[in-house]
Amino acid sequence: MSDAPRGLKPAVLFAAIFLGAWVVQMLRPDLALHLPDSPWNWLGTVLPVGCGLALGLLRPEAAVTRALASGWLAIACLLGVAASCWPIAVFPVGVAAPGWLHRIGLGDPLSSLPFVAALAGVAVNLAVSLARRLRCGPDRLRFSVVHAGLLIAVIGGAAGHGGLIRARFILEEGGSPGDAVVAEDGRRIRLPVALVLDDFVLERFPPMLLLDDGGRLSRGETLLGPDATDSMQGLDIAVRSWLPAAAVVGGRPVPFREPGANPAADVVVHADGREIAAGWLHPAGPLGIELALPLADGRTLHMESPRPQRFLAQVRADGRPVEVTVNRPLRVDGWAIYLLSYDEKLGPASRTAVFEAVEDRALPAVYLGIGLLLIGVLAHLWRPVTAGSRP
């Protein structure tokens, strides 16, 4: 073992603790660790990190400090995070995890003991190595900016998770959420603003063609409209007449101006310069059946349902008209109210919108951490410091 990498011992010790935590989780599969609410969430995260910082600053050369600040411990803790969170990458929230995953203690990886142990290890290792490097060691500034950024972001994220308030609610046109909404954890939350949904608007792209070749679908490239043409799989398709909003009556489309009505197109199909089919296309929708065009060679031509282009909610917030869209939430008093979705079955005919109100008091800490990390990695990109090049 004489040429074993330096600092490997603490990593092996951590691996033993991590495996122990995993065994406990397997023996007690319903054990779930959650951070408490504010202020205990801050205490629970800042306290161990503070101790790590103090240790690194006051006793930089002590054996325990060297062990806790070792690069191999960082690797072990990060591998621990990876080993305990991977199930979420394969069976995320919303997809049922298979039974064997529950049996090995990772049915709910993010609140499992091994995951929490690994994350705590990362935070303590970052804290001790950061403080120790501030006292002694090369390239202090760049090391500190990257690792302090990470540390602040990890603490902010972990502590913020404990104090995060998320409340999802559905509003109908003309409706308001009333006095309070129910948060994810069951608490009743008073929103910072009186909200009324005036109108929900969904704009859609024009539809495209779909060719069904015995179950293999290929899509056209053109957005359909009056006089549009498209070529696909040896076919030339031209639109002869166009109804921007239609309903099917007696097997034929008729103009029907109603939100949610799909367009219809009368098309003519040519192959090798010969007309092989002509007729109406219309996608199935909440207002009627589909019209497709069978071709002589067994293939079928369809019109795809138009895809959403933009959706927005016109709301009144304390009487003031505001537009909320995806990527543009309404921000009031440290809260942000996001437009998440709508009744997708009804599409543009939807009269409801799904919102989520979020209050995240730890956000400034997370953004500070991310900012420092970005500055640090940009400096690293400009002039990398490699561990191997150190004396």
Binding site: A82, C85, V95, G157, L223, M232, V326, N327, P329, T386
Partner: protein, 261 residues
């Protein structure tokens, strides 16, 4: 539209294959072959850059939505980044890997031509979309180069790890920037900077892999063959995050997967 794309891709493949041949000859005889290699590489880059610009204008959206579109960017970025890094690091060892990577990804597009359309889902209509995805593709390009160089050296029984490590020191910061931009965008659009979406989790696993590699660098340098193997193998996690995640059961609930057409 996809017909035009296919023909331009073929032209670029021809240019870069020619450049690769010139690069191999230049290794033995300097002079005119170097110039020919540079000219063919630059011509291919101009054609590909022009194609992406044309697509952007023609589609009315950034051509970054489908897997095929991201492969076009990847090809361009691996050759551009390879060229810049080769100049910064003063090496010619990147020429062949960057040309081979670029050509390989274009060949994938030639074999699987994709349809292009003008639609873009509302969530992607954000100023964060382009910087986030382009930065990620750039980091994948640089990490791809590190893996290609490592694999090449591993196969040729080489032991020089300097270049692959230097490439990782460029790729990891880019990966970190992509992760941070994604987190800020997610917060702006959905209220959560980290939602443990499958793609996000794979991105974290990729990041962890490369952070581990640079933290083990000092010890890995004394075991160069192991180091080359680790660097080449780490790219498998990138491939998982980029392509294979589309085939997992989790894809149905991911907001991140690229559309196939």
């Amino acid at each position: 539209m996809s017909g035009v794309v296919w023909w331009v891709e073929l032209l670029v493949v021809a240019c870069w294959s020619l450049a690769a041949i010139c690069a191999s000859l230049a290794a033995a005889r300097a002079g005119a072959w170097h110039t020919a290699c540079r000219a063919a590489t630059a011509l291919g880059l101009c054609l590909l850059g022009g194609l992406l610009l044309w697509l952007w204008l023609h589609l009315g959206r950034p051509p970054l939505r489908t897997l095929g579109e991201t492969r076009l960017w990847y090809a361009m970025l691996s050759v551009t980044a390879g060229g810049i890094l080769a100049w910064r690091l003063g090496t010619t060892a990147l020429r062949l890997p960057m040309l081979i990577l670029g050509t390989l990804f274009l060949c994938l597009n030639l074999a699987m031509p994709q349809t292009l359309d003008k639609t873009l889902m509302p969530a992607l209509q954000s100023p964060w979309f382009v910087p986030h995805v382009v930065d990620y593709l750039l980091s994948y390009a640089v990490l791809g180069l590190s893996a290609a160089v490592a694999l090449w050296r591993l196969l040729r029984r080489g032991t020089d790890v300097e270049l692959p490590f230097r490439l990782i020191h460029a790729g990891l910061p880019l990966l970190t920037i992509g992760l941070c931009l994604g987190a800020i965008w997610a917060k702006e659009a959905w209220g959560h900077y980290w939602a443990w979406d499958p793609k996000e989790t794979w991105a974290l696993l990729t990041w962890i892999t490369y952070v581990c590699v640079i933290h083990a660098e000092r010890d890995l340098r004394s075991r160069p063959r192991l180091a080359l193997g680790v660097i080449a193998g780490s790219f498998l996690v990138v491939l998982m995050c980029w392509f294979l995640v589309n085939h997992l059961p989790s894809t149905a609930v991911s907001v991140h997967t690229y559309t196939k057409g």
